[in-house]
């Protein structure tokens, strides 16, 4: 027979856990909504800038003269690895880090990591990757300016020739239930193909090169900012789902434990009754 007091204590503690996970689920849900909204608000900017770069890169005279467009021999690769700062979000961190690990193992040249977020930083340190910069403790709602140091370092390393190619790895937000770790090329900038016939003859002021030169760093900054927003939305939704399932299993466990508790209680009452009646019988 299980110890009644222990079962009761166990139920209490599971109830407390359920309360906490429930609260965390709700917090994550509200943060996720906000993160999604922010992501959507930035989308027009992202679309426009992509369009303009495609237009500009299609011009014959600007063809790949800008350093951020130039392809070089690859001697070293950089990866901007964006992860959450905190855990308790299901398999998200593990998946992201595994993706980075696999990527590094596949490369023939050395890889340098720019870690954004504590979980990725810890992973890089643990697996002794060469870490060239780390940014942790970004807030839940970073402004565009907060993310500029990250893009500055990437652009600087790239233009100086320390790294010859830059990838960005983050959790893409697909739906609340699905987040996909993705890893794609950031630099050199690959201009999107524009559908034919949409090309407009622009007047460029002062020159096409100057405009492109100003636009490309912005584009990189924007891509990184966008990836960070997306990764925050993914983190919160992954946490929400993880916490919901934790709450569900806690409740299930409470049910099971209550059953055990009640059985034990009945049993002990029955035993006591038996004792008493046994005593009465013995007295008579």
């Amino acid at each position: 027979m299980p110890d009644i007091r222990k079962v009761r204590r166990r139920i209490k503690s599971v109830q407390n856990i359920a309360k906490i996970t429930r609260a965390m689920e709700m917090i994550a849900a509200s943060r996720m909504r906000k993160a999604q909204e922010r992501g959507l608000q930035g989308r027009p900017y992202a679309e426009k800038i992509e369009q303009v770069i495609a237009d500009l890169a299609a011009l014959p005279e600007t063809s790949l003269r800008h350093p951020l467009l130039q392809k070089r021999d690859i001697k070293k690769i950089g990866v901007v690895h964006i992860t959450p700062d905190r855990g308790l979000c299901g398999g998200l961190n593990a998946n992201l880090n595994r993706q980075l690990g696999n990527f590094i193992l596949k490369q023939e040249v050395p890889v340098e990591v720019v870690a954004v977020g504590r979980k990725g930083r810890d992973f890089s340190v643990r697996s002794s990757c060469s870490l060239c910069a780390e940014f942790t403790q970004l807030s839940d709602k970073p402004s565009f300016i907060d993310t500029l140091p990250i893009s500055n370092i990437v652009i600087q390393e790239y233009t100086e020739g320390t790294i010859d190619m830059v990838y960005i790895s983050y959790a893409q937000f697909i739906t609340t239930m699905v987040q996909k770790p993705v890893l794609h090329q950031l630099l050199p900038v690959q201009p999107a193909e524009i559908p034919g016939g949409q090309n407009v003859d622009y007047i460029y002021e002062p020159t096409a090169e100057a405009v492109l030169g100003n636009l490309l760093p912005r584009f990189v900054e924007m891509e990184i900012y966008h990836a960070i927003l997306e990764s925050i939305a993914s983190e919160q939704s992954a946490r929400m789902v993880a916490m919901r399932s934790a709450t569900d299993s806690a409740n299930e466990l409470i049910g099971e434990l209550t059953l055990i508790y009640n059985k034990a209680r009945q049993e002990s009452i029955t035993n006591e009754l038996l004792d008493i009646t046994g005593g009465v019988v013995a007295l008579e």
Binding site: Y202, P206, N214
Partner: protein, 139 residues
Amino acid sequence: MPSFKIDIVTAERIVYSEDVDEVVAPGVSGQLGILPHHAPLMTTLEAGELVVRKGGQEEIMAISGGFLEVRPDHVIVLADQAERAEEIDISRADEARKRAEDRLKVKQTGMDALRAEAALRRALVRLSVAEKLRRRRKV
């Protein structure tokens, strides 16, 4: 009178999106007025005031650099930062101006001086936009 659509967007939000009659923007090579049926144009913008006119009414915005694209059907402003006049926090802008001025007083060279100058310009633009709005409200 024909009007055209203008979208002013930053990386963080859509600041303004409406049909307007005229736009005056601070281009790198001088102020730039855009009326309907303007030729396609792509230019970088400096920190300055962006004015949109619509049916006799004007709205002023402070922007701190960015790009302007004129397409056949509408105008897109990709701003680094943009604020409508009524959103500007005057005391904060004033503080930023003082900070930038202090930094400029200490003689510096290269990047730091450039950055301080840019910060000062941004603060001044904000202040002047906010000032204009206040004056108009008084009238």
